[in-house]
Amino acid sequence: MAKYLMLKHYRGAPAARNDVMMDRWTPEEVTAHIQYMNDFADRLRESGEFVGENALSPEGLWVQYDGEGKPPVTDGPFAETKDLIAGWMIIDVDTPQRAIELAGELSAAPGKDGEPIHEWLEVRPLYGEPSLIED
């Protein structure tokens, strides 16, 4: 059993096959996309593999410590070139193969013309606990 983070990107991932920005979809296409995402999460809840998810606003700032007694420095909005994460989902699965299978399913979410987006998702293992049996 291990947990994996799946990351969706607004920018910074390799180009999707059906690479049309959401603001150029029809309202029905947007609805279908959201429905697919919700159904996907529901299936994982039902299978007992769901841990958490959230979509992220593209808005945000860089923040940095600026020394004792000074307020943090901020910089923003983000430059157009920044790799930008759109959302995350954490799953808890029995095998790495299962994590890949699920990411593949999520990448098939419909976009423009109701066709799968084929977007690239980032899949990252989370650190777990060190095992107790060590020799």
Partner: protein, 381 residues
């Protein structure tokens, strides 16, 4: 966990017995298991400082009532009335065989490892869904689904056929090895469940697993430094090992080995016992450790075992021999770089060792392991 005076471990020990009483009265496993869980929660709520004189009878009565309530439907009514007519009363005490069948059911081959673990902890261990969810850091709803799916999967399985002990042991091993996160001490729970299993079945491998758990559990106080960092075996303060657990583990292992039916858990426990016996890494009987690894390789042919064997060979016959033992193994194995780094360091090739420690840190599967390996690399550069 509701904090009442109810003695939680004692209550949980009764779980499999109460469950088997319900199943023998004709309740289906999934519904009976839900009813027992309800009864346990009710006990925690209402017992306070004064538990009833007959806790098991109380639990059976409440669980049975819950079961009947839950199955109240048009279709179930006739069946329920038949069951009521059959008169529940105390019934014969659930024997060890019943408990054993529960273990088999919860580790059924149709279940994935994570489902088997969850179902075992609930139906045999008597933990609540919330406790199990906390221990595995998933939402309670997710764990509830995992458990109810597992119950559906095994619902058609009859409980009167012997199951696969190896699968039960594998499941308990997973519970133990996961360690301890959240409020529930999973390692201690795994020991309790393995002990209970050892009482129900005569099998040297069950004893082997119990010994293995006790011997590793004994090191636990020395395994983490005050700041929470991981202390590897070679650097542990062995005076902090739990000598009581070691003595018990060794005694159980000796008895198991005398049966002359060796299996992988006995062999693993034998290795742990050799470590437990040694005042330091330098004084460990590494030649015997290697011999036990040879037994393990013969039993399992697992690449992970071969990797650990290379470490022991390095100690017994020097780092060059260890590196030679490593040569045939696949570098994509977990911890391969960590082992290679250690052997190269002992062989005096510090630059190579440092590079390998960095690679090993990047491949670690826990932050504790990553931090330890990063410090090893930093020490050499």
């Amino acid at each position: 966990m509701p904090s009442t005076g109810a003695d939680e471990p004692r209550l949980r020990r009764l779980t499999p017995e109460v469950l088997t009483v319900l199943v023998r009265r004709g309740a289906d496993f999934a519904a009976a298991e839900d009813a027992v869980q309800d009864a346990l929660l009710e006990a925690w709520r209402s017992w306070g400082t004064e538990p009833p004189r007959d806790p098991k009878g109380w639990l059976v009565t409440v669980a049975w009532r819950r079961y009947l309530d839950a199955t109240r439907s048009e279709i179930a009514r006739r069946r329920r009335e038949d069951l009521v007519d059959a008169e529940p009363e105390a019934g014969p005490a659930a024997g060890t065989d019943d408990t054993l069948h529960l273990y088999f059911l919860c580790a059924h081959p149709a279940l994935t490892p994570s489902s088997a673990v969850a179902l075992t902890l609930r139906a045999v261990g008597g933990l609540t869904t919330r406790q199990i969810a906390d221990a595995y850091l998933v939402p309670e709803a997710t764990m509830a689904q995992r458990i109810s799916r597992a119950k559906r999967t095994v619902s058609e399985v009859r409980m009167d056929r012997p199951g696969d002990v190896a699968r039960v042991l594998r499941t308990l091993y997973l519970v133990f090895n996961e360690g301890y996160s959240g409020d529930v001490d999973l390692a201690a729970e795994a020991i309790r469940l393995t002990r209970q299993l050892a009482a129900a079945i005569d099998d040297p491998e069950v004893s082997g697993l119990l010994a293995l758990m006790l011997l590793h559990h004994a090191r636990r106080p020395a395994r983490t430094a005050a700041d929470g960092t991981l202390v590897p075996l070679a650097e542990q303060d062995r005076s902090r090992w739990d000598t009581g657990a070691i003595a018990e583990g060794v005694a159980i292992l000796q008895l198991a080995l005398s049966r002359d039916r060796l299996g992988e858990f006995q062999a693993q426990a034998a290795i742990a016992a050799l470590h437990a016996d040694a005042p330091s890494t330098g004084e460990t009987d590494w030649v015997q450790v290697v011999e036990w690894y040879d037994e393990l390789v013969a039993l399992t042919d697992s690449p992970v075992v071969r990797l650990n064997r290379a470490v022991a060979v390095g100690e017994a016959d020097g780092p060059r021999a260890g590196l030679a033992a490593l040569a045939d193994l696949d570098p994509s194995l977990p911890r391969f770089q960590a082992v290679a780094a250690h052997l190269h360091e002992r062989d005096g090739d510090l630059a190579r060792a440092a590079t390998l420690y960095v690679e090993a840190a990047a491949r670690a599967s826990s932050t504790a392991e990553r931090d330890h390996l990063t410090k090893q690399a930093a020490r050499l550069t």
